[in-house]
Subunit: 402 residues, 2 copies
């Protein structure tokens, strides 16, 4: 029998995905089964709620209800985009948080998010070490953008990729209904890395995009227009997947005149597809249309990849194991095991190695022209979209945790 | 044993839906089983292909391949948006078509589309009667817009409604991730009638739209802004479903400055959500976002309603029965049978009664304020989105007919 060490607090941060709650499911069910862990709490709206002491007790939630977490998009416990100051400059929030941790005897602190969230994790870890409060901090990966370093991929990406590839394929079939299809420019999320845009190429058998433009490759409007004209001449249609984050050779975002900043200083993007469609129409005379896939990319739970759901759960379970074994200040990472079959191992890497890093698409996964993906990308991404979950439905709707 | 009368030609026209090919499946399989009907052809790109003699023979297509029609979006045989002139003014296309019908001994002519297609059907029927060529003309309903008159609803609408309601619900959950959500304005297709926009309201349990604006109710920007502010004050979010076809009290489309016309003289819409989000941001200071659901509404086959698929097939089968029984110049219509359970009967109505009519949402299905739906609408629409098909998948993708 292992001695009880204390209670666990789990929080969600940043933009939701369609499987972040599957990771919550993994953490909560694994923690409830551990003798070392007493009570399990979730933060309401991430660190914002934790600082205010707004914790949701999880021990009494029925098992059947917890199961619904796996098929619920969004952030079941609420998320936030809160940037904590450095505690050496201003420790007021840290002191409030410490009091909440003490009040609830929290000895396991789990934070589920992207690189900004891992930075929050790192800061809290440093503060708790500084004041000598013993607590194990575990970061859990989550991002549709797939841009965290030191992990093969990120939970959330597989389902987003599946949504994007399937939707592109359906749009392609729709275009082909007419003898000549419009030049159709589909804008995909992804601020600094093109993983989501690239996943459009997973729609093969002639229903993929004719052209793909990524933030990793400098974008030249004249080359783009020539590409479109060339494709249209042979196919009498042109389907383009373009990242919201395309930039010129100097790294400036495409037509960045009307952009805004968010709390982390990231530029808020959007509207690229409409502007490109307008450019094509003006310069080539070809009838054009912009489609922004927008929010459904990250909340389209119907397109969950079963592989993604299972891995998201496994990340949560691995995090609990690492914490109980004594690790702290680490994020759960996925490692692709060698061999011809797809297998993933779960390892721990220090959060400071992950915070604020960005993993771009390797050049070898992009074709020489810089307007499409290579087989290396398809080999990498295909396993991530495999399998469909069995959903619990009610009256034509997937049941959500609430 | 019934005497063979001749061959059958089936065509698709207008914008695709996610179940138009299910109707094709119904026609083709029912026709192949009939002794009265010999060969079965499909027009490539609708009447455009028929005039050129571009016919696809269907008799040799394997049964397993035909089954895939039920889960294929777009127009499997190609569609068109071709407006035929009146034959009294110019009969050149009609004469070409007549020759193709004679060459292939076509005695059953099936045309699958919306009200423009029924008008094409009517014109061809009048011409063939005029020249004394015996051929039975059957119209088959198809439109995501659900705006055909003399039918309870249209195949294609149930699946589009299911896509819209599920997507709105997922967006709602995504908004609720943060303590305060953006004012989010979701733009839905629907040129003259608000059925598709209204179907957003099917997402109940707190995840529906807070406000719904339809072409049926005059749109006043000031009332809209007051509605948004009121909702935001209590809910700290505001989710709006708005039709691309909203218009002012004089019937002018909202901000119609940058609109274009299609071949039928219909205005090409879009961009309303972005313009409204901009208006909200400027006038209220609330952070706002526009989302245009765009093409996936009509091609999102993953959201097929099984009810819709089954009815789409049944329309095709009923059409073949009506034709063999001697009817001509009629469209297959759906009639909701009396009783507490949902049952549909299939009847025939003259195409001239349907061509160019538009069925708007009855006022009793819209709330008094004109910004939401009543129980009467929910009772009408709910049965149409029920059930999920069992899809044949391959590597994470639904298999398509091709």
């Amino acid at each position: 029998m292992n001695a009880r060490k204390g209670n666990l607090l789990y929080g969600q941060s940043g933009g939701p995905t369609s499987v972040i709650n599957a990771t919550a499911y993994g953490v909560i069910t694994a923690a409830l089964a551990r003798e070392e862990i007493g009570l399990v709490y979730a933060m309401r709206h991430g660190i914002e709620g934790a600082i205010k002491g707004d914790l949701i007790p999880m021990n009494a939630v029925p098992k059947e209800k917890l199961e619904l977490l796996k098929q619920t998009p969004g952030s079941a416990f609420g998320s936030c985009r809160h940037k904590m100051k450095d505690f050496t400059q201003d420790d007021s929030e840290y002191r409030k948080l410490l009091q909440v941790l003490k009040d609830h005897d929290i000895r396991y602190f789990f934070y589920n998010g992207g690189n900004d969230s891992m930075d929050t994790c790192r800061k809290i870890g440093e503060y708790l070490k500084h004041v000598g409060y013993e607590c194990r901090l575990i970061g859990l990966p989550k991002t549709v953008d797939n841009d965290l370093v030191h992990t093969d991929h990120c939970p959330g990406f597989g389902s987003a990729a599946k949504y994007i590839a399937n939707t592109i394929r359906e749009i392609s079939v729709d275009l082909d209904a007419y003898p000549t299809g419009k030049v159709t420019i589909v804008e995909v999320m992804g601020r600094d890395a093109g993983w989501m845009t690239a996943s459009a190429a997973l729609a093969e058998d002639g229903h993929g995009p004719d052209l793909v433009y990524l933030p990793e490759v400098p974008f030249f409007a004249e080359v783009f227009l020539a590409d479109v004209k060339r494709i249209y001449q042979t196919r009498k249609r042109c389907l383009v997947a373009v990242s919201e984050g395309i930039r010129d050779a100097d790294g400036a975002l495409f037509d960045s005149g009307d952009t805004q900043m968010d709390a982390f200083g990231h530029t808020q993007l959007g509207g690229v597809s409409t502007r490109l469609a307008d450019l094509v129409q003006r310069r080539t005379g070809l009838s054009s249309r912009g489609i922004e896939l927008n929010l459904p990319q990250r909340c389209g739970v119907h397109f969950q990849s079963r592989t993604d759901v299972e891995e998201a759960v496994a990340c949560g379970v691995a995090g609990v194991r690492f914490a109980v074994e004594g690790q702290t200040g680490v994020m759960v990472c996925m490692e692709r095991l060698p061999g011809s079959e797809y297998h993933i191992g779960y390892v721990a890497n220090p959060v400071e190695n992950i915070a604020n890093g960005v993993r771009e698409i390797p050049r070898a996964m992009i074709n020489i022209e810089g307007n499409g993906m290579t087989q290396a990308f398809l080999d990498y991404a295909k396993p991530l979209i495999q399998g469909e979950p069995q959903f619990l439905l009610e009256n034509g709707f997937i049941r959500f945790y609430e």
